[in-house]
Symmetry: C2
Subunit: 82 residues, 2 copies
């Protein structure tokens, strides 16, 4: 298992309810790929959402986001953390 940060763009105007609902949709199916989405942070002004997860691969992260209806624009392994 490894840590990943993924980035969604084009989410201008995203609301707290929409972020919560999107996260809930990920959590509902993440177990199918042994992914766990830990946190998400959103900037409604620039339309960027960052998601931090633990997962076996970037592809597994993306498959969950795709099935939940919101594919990521970038998925990066972040093996270093402070």
């Amino acid at each position: 298992m490894a840590k990943f940060m993924d980035v969604h763009r084009g989410m201008k105007g995203v609301t707290a309810d929409q972020l919560r609902e999107a996260h809930r949709a990920d959590l509902a199916i993440e177990g199918d790929e042994s992914v766990h989405f830990e946190h998400a942070w959103a900037d409604p002004e620039s339309g960027i959402v960052y998601c931090l997860s633990e997962a076996p691969s970037a592809e597994a992260v993306q498959r969950i986001h795709e099935r939940a209806g919101h594919p990521a624009d970038e998925v990066h392994a972040v093996p270093l953390e402070v």
Copy 2:
């Protein structure tokens, strides 16, 4: 105070020691701007570093990063979090 995510690019090959040292340099002066850098995550392969902070403004975040020798390429307020 608000939450911010900032992004540094061009850090290919960054090591755990370099990330720790860069974070330490931020922590040493962050109080001057009432900023607190909570976490940083790095992808040595793509050269991207993400930093999560609490701060009074994006400008305050950037001023600390600049003085510490590593200006961010983007600083985004992230008022929404799950």
